[in-house]
Every structure is written in structure tokens, then in C-alpha cells.
Symmetry: C2
DNA sequence: TAAATAGTGTCTGTTAGACAGTATTTT
DNA sequence: AAAATACTGTCTAACAGACACTATTTA
């Protein structure tokens, strides 16, 4: 239909236009990707009859250069002009973990003008979920500056103000990241407001100890997203090894959701998301547990 | 704690570093924002005793320049180096609608290398929801090239292939946009796959009639997001006028969700999201209906 | 009285939460 | 037997879907 050359007001066809197009000299922001790579690790118990505890871990890199020299940042890097955002993210992911097939999703793009003191940088954040048992090589073996940090977070304080045409609500969320050697912590204020018909959410770092850039805010956002998606999708299985017990699965739900679940209700709820196998755990110091695998072939996994 | 100057391997402090930092000459992508501005409009009925039908509308701009000259695109524009992404989005929003206080949220950032034939452009898409009655000036009055299009979409075909380690599932979604003068339509293929432990979602435009760039994909994504969020947040009230009947509210839910709802269950469900007023509709040709307003002051509106 | 929409009452089946109880293993 | 976890049965309350019914207005 529109195959005969369309010409613009100067009588130029699209082909001619593109041939002579000059991308111009406007100043442009730099674009980076930042990766939130999560996994679940086990902490050995001193009482071997007890189950090992699990924790959610995030990979951070200690900066070796200005700015924020010595502080911890999310792994990431600049997006080249000849690679897509997803390709840049996969490249970074592979650089850090040495594995290729990892669950990854785009989270949010951070575009405040002053978020990087060097220059204008817009950063697109991605979340990746890795099964710890697939990390054959400990990530960061080569990079002595990378480390896994246990993630914990709590709501310090929540307040609410009624306004004439709505309300405004603050949450102060304390995030603590703990590695073998360092403990980092900071507070993000999340403000939710409704004014007339306009609702808004704003984030602000109100305290930060050891985090580079605005990365603490990205961590808070990612935890929020992970929590949300765990309830209505199957992404949690990206954090699980191929075989797992229902108790293990329940623990992982619990650490992500930050609350305890009742075993009976939990089992009913996830029954159709998993498949029984013939295998059991062994040498557990107590009754063995049946092993399950993810059942990806059920009716709907929206 | 870290207030004494930290110096890098060359003995340079952060302050000195930033003073002499050269942003460099690496090629950089351009960054744009693209706005998905939705509203709900009423179509007059020929039988005045019947209720007017509602429809979801999207604002598009007809391109007056290459590339895609004459085709329809989302309103948007380049992000300046001295404005944040949100600021750029608000600026575009104001340019198109002449109103300032509009609900807006970031959706997704599109970063394929070839998405713009001129040069490398990364585009951050935002969704905005406007109450039609707040559009005092018909948007596009000044810009003769802007028009509201009624949005409809249907699943043409869905197929599923079982793979060794999972499955792959396609949905062909047909999107039709209809204005006073033009009808545009296209098909987006959404592929969801699970391979071992890695799940992925990919989108592809398989047919497109009159849409510029990859904007049809953005439309599909936005509809999906709107549908999702309508079920677990209160964003729908951003599309409603200050006073509305429960039937009207139900219609808007129905056109967004694409299915009919039962009045009794619907009223129970939204009971605590709305507040009764003393007013009624008038001159309706049938029993008047009580008017409600959004109740933003309830326990939790997550 | 008919047409049209507004609004309510109630049955039914499903599901989440709570909790008590049973089962199986190792020390 | 004690310690530890695995797993099941059942009661209850909440809630969504279905559908019939009542209410109110105008032409």
C-alpha cells in the first residue's frame, strides 16, 4: 500500500533522507546497565540435625576507581552503540558469573540528572536470578573485588499525612547487606502520594553507608519487584536447584516475602507448580523429605 | 567515617578526579521518551435511553517528517542532558495535553539496535492516564497531526510447543487503533519460553499497518501493564472523572480487562475503594444512579 | 405498562488461615 | 525416648461466581 516513495515537504524520499541524515551534535547522555544478581545460599548450622538456614544474596563490586572509590556498587557498564540493552545486560551477567543461561528481566531506568558525579548517565537496571548450584565457579574468583552480600531489609518507620485532596505516606526502609568481611547499610525513603487524581511514588536515599551512586535505591526497588512477582509468577524457581524439597522451597518464599508461611496452606498452594520425584533427601538427621522439581507444563503460569 | 580524602592508585582524590574528568569521545546512543497517553471517552448512543458506551483511547501523532513520514507514532522526544527522564516525560505530556497534573509511570525501556533507522536510539516509554473531563482543550487542537484512537485488541492465535527442557508459547495479539478518520492495525507476537530454569519473554512485530518505529510493541506492552495493574492497584481512578456511577466504573474495568463482570460481585469488591455522595445522575431516561467518588483514605491501597 | 438501568439477597463452591495431629528418621 | 522435620486432616471464615429478584425512573 505505502510502497510508492513517500516524499516530504522538500520532495525527499525516506531512502534519500536516511542516506544524508546527520545524527547531529546534540549533547547526549551516556547509557549504562546495572545488574542486580540475586541467588540463595545456605548457611551451615552448628547443630547438624537442624536444617541449614537460607539467605538471599546479592552480588556487589568494590570500586577501584573514582568516584566512590572503595565503596560498593552493582556490577554494570556502558551500553555500546552496537549492542542492545539486553545484550549489554547479558554481557555483564556473563562477565560476573561465567554462566550464560540466566533468568533476567529489565526493572527500571534511572534518569536523575545528577546521579553520577562524572557526567550525565542514564542507567537501566536488570534483575537476574541464579541457582547457586549452577555457579560452578564462585563468582568473583577472578575479580577479588566482587562479593556476595546477604540481603535483609526492614521497615523502620511509616508515617502518613492526610492532605486536603488526598494523602502522603512515607516508608523508611532500612537495607542491610552483609558479606564475609563488610556490612553495608542504608535507608531509602519511599513516598507514596495521592493528590486529587494524581498518585505518585518517589524514592530518596536518606542514609547510606558504603554504597556507590544511587544503587541502594535500585536494591530497594529490586526487592520490591522480586517480592511482588514471587506471588503471581513462577520466577522463584530460577533461584532453586533442579531438585528441591518443599520445605526448602517454602524457606525461599519466606525469606523473599519476609514472613512465615504455614506448611499446610503452602503445600496446597504450590501443589500444581511442582512435580514429585522418586527421590528423597538423605543423611538429614531426621525424617527424609521427598524431592520435587519445577512443573513447567501446567495449564497457566501467568 | 570516610570523610578524609580517599585517593586512588595515582594518589588522586575524588574531587581532583571529577575536576579533570573528561566524559570522553565514545559514541553514545540518543535517548528519547515515548508517551502512551490513555483516556476513556464516551460514544453517544442513538437510543438516548441506553447508556453511552465507553472506549479506551490512545493519543497518536502523525509524522510529518522522515522516517515513517505520514505514519502514526507515540508522542515523544529527545531527553535533554539537563533534564531527568521524568522531567522529559512530563514536558512531553504537557506539550500534548496542556495539563500538568497527570498520573504517569515509567513502563519499559526499548533498546534494540535497529529500532530507529536514523541512528541508535534508546527509548524509555511512559504510560499516562488522563480523565477525559480534565482535557478542557481537546488535545491536538493546535497540533492538527494529533488524534485520539480507540484501542481494541484480541488474541488471534495461541500455540504451544513442548520442548525437552520446557516449552515455548506464542500469542499473536492483534491491536486495532481507530480514529475518526483512520484505522490502524497490526499484530504483535509475544513468545514466552521456559528452557530448563530460564524463562524469557520476547516480543516481535509480525505485521504493522501505519505504525512508526516499534511503537506497536509499546502499545501492546502498555495494554498488558494496564490490565495487570488495574487488578491490584487503584490506578483506574486516574481515568475517571471526580464523580462517577458504579456502572460507569464497572464499564471502564470491563473495557480494560476485556471481559464482562457481574454487577453484584463487582460492587462488593470495590465497595471500600469508593465513597458514596448525596448526588444522583439526572435525565438518564431510566432510574437515576448514585454518584461516587474515589476513596483514597482507606486502610491500604497497595 | 414497557424499557432501561440501579441495586440487593442469597446460595454454592473454592480457598486461605489456623491448628492439631500423625509419620518417619537419627541420636 | 527425644529431637527434629515431614506431611495430612479438618474446621472456619472470607470471598468470588452465579443468578434471581426488587427498585426506580422516563417514554
Amino acid at each position: 500500500m505505502s510502497k510508492q516513495p513517500v516524499t516530504d515537504r522538500n520532495g525527499i524520499t525516506e531512502e534519500q533522507f536516511l542516506k544524508t541524515y546527520d545524527a547531529g551534535v546534540y549533547e547526549r547522555p551516556s547509557v549504562t546497565v546495572d545488574m542486580l544478581i540475586f541467588t540463595v545460599m545456605e548457611r551451615e548450622q552448628n547443630n547438624y540435625r537442624k536444617l541449614s538456614e537460607k539467605s538471599l544474596q546479592l552480588l556487589l563490586i568494590q570500586r577501584g576507581e573514582h568516584p566512590y572509590l572503595g565503596q560498593w556498587a552493582l556490577p554494570g557498564g556502558f551500553v555500546g552503540v552496537h549492542e542492545s540493552l539486553d545484550e549489554a545486560a547479558r554481557r555483564e551477567l556473563f562477565t560476573e558469573t561465567n554462566i550464560d543461561n540466566i533468568y533476567m528481566e529489565q526493572l527500571y531506568t534511572w534518569g536523575e540528572v545528577q546521579r553520577d558525579p562524572r557526567m550525565r548517565v542514564i542507567s537501566c537496571s536488570y534483575m537476574a536470578l541464579v541457582d547457586r548450584t549452577a555457579l560452578n565457579v564462585q563468582a568473583g574468583d577472578d575479580a577479588a573485588d566482587a562479593a556476595w552480600f546477604e540481603v535483609s531489609h526492614e521497615i523502620l518507620e511509616a508515617s502518613r499525612r492526610e492532605l486536603e485532596q488526598g494523602y502522603e505516606q512515607d516508608q523508611f526502609i532500612k537495607i542491610t547487606l552483609q558479606s564475609d568481611k563488610v556490612t553495608l547499610s542504608g535507608v531509602v525513603k519511599v513516598t507514596e502520594s495521592v493528590q486529587g487524581h494524581v498518585s505518585k511514588i518517589q524514592r530518596e536515599i536518606v542514609q547510606s553507608e558504603g554504597f556507590a551512586f544511587d544503587h541502594l535505591m535500585m536494591v530497594q526497588y529490586a526487592i520490591e519487584r522480586l517480592r511482588g512477582k514471587v506471588e503471581y509468577t513462577d520466577i522463584i524457581f530460577n533461584l532453586m536447584p533442579p531438585l528441591f524439597t518443599l520445605s526448602e522451597l517454602q524457606r525461599v518464599y519466606e525469606i523473599i516475602l519476609g514472613k512465615e508461611l504455614l506448611a499446610a496452606a503452602f503445600r496446597r498452594k504450590i501443589a500444581d507448580r511442582v512435580m514429585e520425584t522418586e527421590d528423597f533427601t538423605r543423611d538429614a538427621g531426621h525424617r527424609p523429605s521427598k524431592l520435587y522439581r519445577y512443573n513447567m507444563n501446567r495449564a497457566s503460569n501467568q
